[in-house]
């Protein structure tokens, strides 16, 4: 069997760690709070503190740095693009030229800030998914959405759709990796500089990927039907979520971290 050469972003990594054993509701809420903090913290100091918090979380989760690096590496292009666009589009003091574009000091600084914020956002999502199994994540989501069920919202279905979508990210990345290697194996070049040629070059990847995705969705639907899946009605759970002391400590840690970061970023804390 062909296998992936690097972990896909969001691929669950079972490790015996404190962070893994936390209640998924705390991890989910903490991550959402962390992301909110990223946008609320308006300065470098706040962002740096959140970055330190992310390092601490990764250490507690015992996720190898090389694993995190490889799984988030594909997003580097996005970060570089963000930085570049800001650097050449924001008005300000000119510090250089890049072709027809003027690079400004303000643009470089703002671009670096946005790229750092985006990078932490990606790391935060990856850290959550790496340390939380899809089943646990679904349980947590459905717990938070439960009140909406009283007004007729299909909460369980929404949770399972979101969970499956997340679960399919590594699967699709595996397929992308396999398709690229296989198409190159028969002499098809999948890189080009000219936009039209690039479009032609990605067709051998995009079309089979669509076909495979629909086929996998079909297989999954059949598998669910054959296992008598009927949504959340009357469903029992083997694993019960229990809020324990360590979960309370983790929740407090998340709130303190984000609160301090926002305070530092906004200048409320000297």
């Amino acid at each position: 069997m062909s296998r992936l050469l690097y972990p896909a972003a969001g691929q669950y990594l079972a490790m015996p760690s404190l962070f893994h054993s936390l209640d998924p509701r705390v991890k989910l809420a903490g991550s959402v709070l962390f992301v909110g903090g990223l946008f609320a913290a308006g300065g470098w100091r706040g962002l740096a503190l959140l970055g330190l918090g992310m390092v601490a979380q990764t250490a507690v989760a015992r996720v190898p740095l090389v694993y995190l690096w490889r799984s988030t590496r594909p997003f580097l292009i996005l970060l570089a693009f963000t930085w570049l666009v800001q650097a050449v589009t924001l008005p300000g003091e000119a510090i250089g030229r890049w072709g027809p574009f003027v690079v400004t000091r303000e643009g470089v600084g703002e671009g670096a800030f946005l790229a750092a914020r985006l990078g932490l956002l990606v790391l935060s999502g990856t850290a959550l998914l790496t340390a939380t199994s899809p089943v646990a994540l679904t349980d947590a989501l459905s717990w938070y959405l439960a009140p909406l069920g009283r007004v007729g919202v299909p909460v369980w279905d929404l949770a399972i759709v979101l969970s499956l979508a997340l679960r399919f990210v590594p699967t699709l990345m595996l397929e992308v990796d396999r398709l690229i290697r296989a198409q190159q194996g028969r002499g098809i070049q999948m890189t080009a500089r000219h936009p039209l040629r690039l479009l032609r070059a990605v067709l051998p990847l995009v079309v089979p990927l669509f076909v495979l995705s629909f086929r996998q969705a079909d297989v999954l639907a059949n598998a669910m039907v054959s296992r008598c899946y009927r949504g959340g009605r009357g469903r029992t759970r083997y694993r019960q979520m229990r809020f324990q002391g360590r979960d309370a400590l983790a929740a407090v840690a998340f709130v303190l971290l984000v609160g301090l970061a926002v305070g530092l970023g906004r200048g409320w804390v000297p």
């Binding site: 069997m1 062909s2 296998r3 050469l5 972990p7 190898p64 090389v66 694993y67 396999r178 398709l179 290697r181 296989a182 198409q183 190159q184 194996g185 028969r186 002499g187 098809i188 070049q189 067709l203 051998p204 995009v206 079309v207 089979p208 076909v211 495979l212």
Partner: protein, 269 residues
């Protein structure tokens, strides 16, 4: 020499706590004109070895040298079909390399013919309208159309019936034999298929435990059992009954040019 591997090892997820060794100090050389079968149980390292030979994976240690153009078909190559017609799919690889006109037309016809598809009947059809077996043939024709010197196929007949597997492989072997300085390396779980190769390389837990003419590998039930494989029925019967078997052990020959037949006496031990 088209390809040579010396002491090649490979580890997936190297430098991680869950690193998984796949190959250990593999030595292998492939000569022009050779048909080599890789056999071994699931997860024995066949696909990894093929990908290293294709240059897709870089060995963790050891050396791989290749003096040939290469093309590799992964398992389920029909997943790669993406064009509106069979012709376009088969043309895609060589067209990217700048082959065009009559030369391209000839390649398409020769490739489709090699896998048992009539170009007149199939070239204009959509790949999506074909059966899985026909799609497999089209996908393999697309690999052949690249005209590589070293052709690497990962279980080309997986999931197909015995007759389809044999006819596809026989056609590809004939395609390789008809051209100079070509070689084929294919992995398979079907030991009858492997019996038709010039050389059989047996992998067990990422190590090459045997590499010889088919009769020397497939005719040794204990060696195969140690690698988690069951010897072909003909061999097991011969050993049980104390008979000897001529090579090829079973099934139709793949028309090999090299006939290095080792003396074989299959007696009960």
């Amino acid at each position: 020499m088209l390809a040579r591997l010396e002491g090649v090892s490979f580890v997936y997820d190297a430098r991680m706590p869950f690193a998984q060794p796949a190959l250990h100090a593999v030595d292998l050389a492939v000569e022009a004109g050779e048909i080599v079968a890789l056999i071994g149980s699931t997860a024995s390292g066949k696909t990894t070895l093929l990908q290293i030979m294709a240059g897709i994976l870089v060995p963790t240690s050891g050396r791989m040298e290749r003096d040939a153009s290469v093309a590799m078909a992964f398992q389920r190559p029909e997943d790669l079909l993406y064009c509106a017609s069979v012709r376009e799919d088969v043309e895609a690889g060589p067209a990217f390399k700048g082959v065009e006109g009559v030369a391209l037309q000839r390649r398409v016809e020769a490739s489709l013919g090699a896998v048992g598809l009539d170009p007149v009947l199939f070239a204009g059809r959509s790949s999506l309208d074909l059966s899985v077996g026909e799609q497999r043939r089209v996908a393999l024709a697309a690999i052949l159309a690249a005209e590589p010197h070293l052709l690497l196929l990962d279980e080309p007949g997986a999931g197909l019936d015995g007759e389809a597997r044999r006819s596809i492989l026989a056609g590809i072997v004939a395609w390789v034999r008809e051209r100079e300085e070509r070689a084929l390396v294919f992995s398979t779980h079907d030991l009858d298929e492997a019996a038709g190769a010039d050389r059989v390389v047996l992998l067990a837990n990422g190590r090459v435990t045997a590499g010889d003419v088919p009769v020397e590998v497939l005719g040794r039930p204990q060696l195969l059992a140690d690698a988690g494989l069951e010897a072909p029925l003909a061999v097991r019967l011969a050993v049980d009954l104390g008979f000897s078997l001529p090579a090829p052990l079973n099934g139709p020959s793949l028309g090999r040019r090299l006939t290095r037949r080792a003396p074989f006496v299959g007696r009960a031990e």
